[in-house]
Amino acid sequence: MNDISQFAAGISVLEITYILASVLFILGLKMLSHPLTARRGNTLAAIGMVLAILATILFHQKDGQPIGNIWWIIGAITVGTVIGWVIAKRVKMTAMPQLVSFFNGMGGAAAALISIMEFPHVSHELIAKSGMANGHVLAILLGLVIGTVSWAGSMIAFGKLDGRIGDMRIKAMKYVNLTILAVIIGFVVYIMTRDVQASAELTPFIIILFVIAVVYGVLFVMPIGGADMPVVISLLNSFTGVAAAMGGFLYQNQAMLTGGILVGSAGTILTILMCKAMNRSLLNVIVGVFGGGGQAVTGAAGTVKEISVSDAAVLLSYSKKVVIVPGYGLAVAQAQHICHELDKLLEEKGVEVKYAIHPVAGRMPGHMNVLLAEADVPYEQLIESDEINPDLPNTDVLVVIGANDVVNPAAEDDPSSPIYGMPIIKARDAKNIIVMKRGMGKGYAAIENMLFFNAKTRMLFGDAKTTLQNLVNEVKAL
């Protein structure tokens, strides 16, 4: 075979592999949306990725040049694999949201770097023909801005979820952010309307644009409350997808285009779905200042009644139906295993125990499901809130463990409440309510929870793990 047909064969294999990878991405994502096929879907997408990477290294050609520096590339992949694998395997399940945010940021940064490196190499012929105002340059600039915003924002989201960064509520923030966004758009337009011979002349503007984008990414996420982080991460996820697609445009690379756009659109839909579960609009999440005392119920709300562990044990053991409402507090205390022990003990005594899972309980949708599954709670015992709400009037005891906003009646009663309209678990319908909390602190929404002052409610203060352990001991002794 002469050189030219070898060239063609390699490129064909490459393109076929990219098509295969695209199909595997699509299939994988589809399978990820059904519980039975989800794990296989993930594996399929991963296989597609590996194939695309291998084929690129072996067969890719840019302007007739194959991929060079192969050993360095393999080295970089090895470094990334080792670090990524170790981090992903070792970190606790409760840190999953942070991790998703972190890895998302890595992708965004990679996209930004690609743009930074490609900008000075825009072909001189292209510039001679249409100046800087062409799709190629736009793809580079958008990749830079979106990738950088995603990276910076993801790092802040990581910090917030990890508890390292607090919330910053400044009323003027939305105006500041809008201004910076306008500046960014202005810069992009400016760069594209310059009359230059080579794009490299405009490199200083790229650096400035990068810095402004970092600032925007940070300020975009900073004012958003920790409870809304999952929505933000989902949004940033789709941003990185779009940034990857920009790279795909740049290189006319089918795998990057498909993967990127797929994630960009799927991620956007997922974000909207998450907002619906909270009954708030996306705009409200991003721009609205959530809680912080502005609309909190002020003044004394009444007194709370407490219950002792032994009385609670008796109440639970002699019930017919018990519903447990887990929340973030359960995750923080790492009390899911002891909680399962309690529910097993109660079931042995003939009590029917179910878990009421609110879509946004915990830090992320599905957080409680993952947590309880880790404790081997069979997922037939996990019931979604709208399914379990009708059963609550027949429930003898409803136990709230470290959950707050998802059982707050203000969502139904108080139109001025920041959580008004959010579907909740109708805890107050139960015959008896026990609330396990560390103290009288307010949940993420930082608002008063009138459930605690309800006549049917008894508070059980203490660390969830310790309290549950004590309950287990008491129930065993009965």
């Binding site: 594996t43 999953m96 999952p230 993967g259 659109s265």
Partner: protein, 102 residues
């Protein structure tokens, strides 16, 4: 400038078709996801956009200066982190969903 964009659309029309179709595909694929799967799905999608590593490999594969090599190396490492971290984390989340055999 207008001609530049019109020419761009003409030249890349098949790519544009693909983008539009991919958008609809993404929307279709995500419909009817149970809330329980929102997080693993987000994690899986996160891993898939790690496909940006391909671009990083291309950039590094043509790097000639030391500066370009360093940046390219960094880009590939970051892309790999996205891919490997993303798929492993997603798998860990999904491990929990297997039916218990009693």
């Amino acid at each position: 400038m207008m001609e530049g964009f019109l020419e761009f659309f003409m030249e890349h029309r098949s790519t544009i078709y693909m983008v539009i179709l991919s958008v609809f595909l993404g929307i279709e694929v995500i419909s009817h996801v149970p809330a329980i799967l929102h997080t693993p799905l987000m994690s899986g999608a996160n891993a898939i956009h790690g496909v940006v590593i391909i671009g990083a490999i291309i950039v590094m594969g043509h790097a000639e200066t030391t500066g370009a090599m360093i940046l390219g190396f960094l880009a590939v490492v970051l892309g790999t982190l996205n891919v490997v971290g993303g798929f492993v984390v997603t798998d860990r989340m999904l491990e929990m969903f297997k039916k218990k055999n009693n």
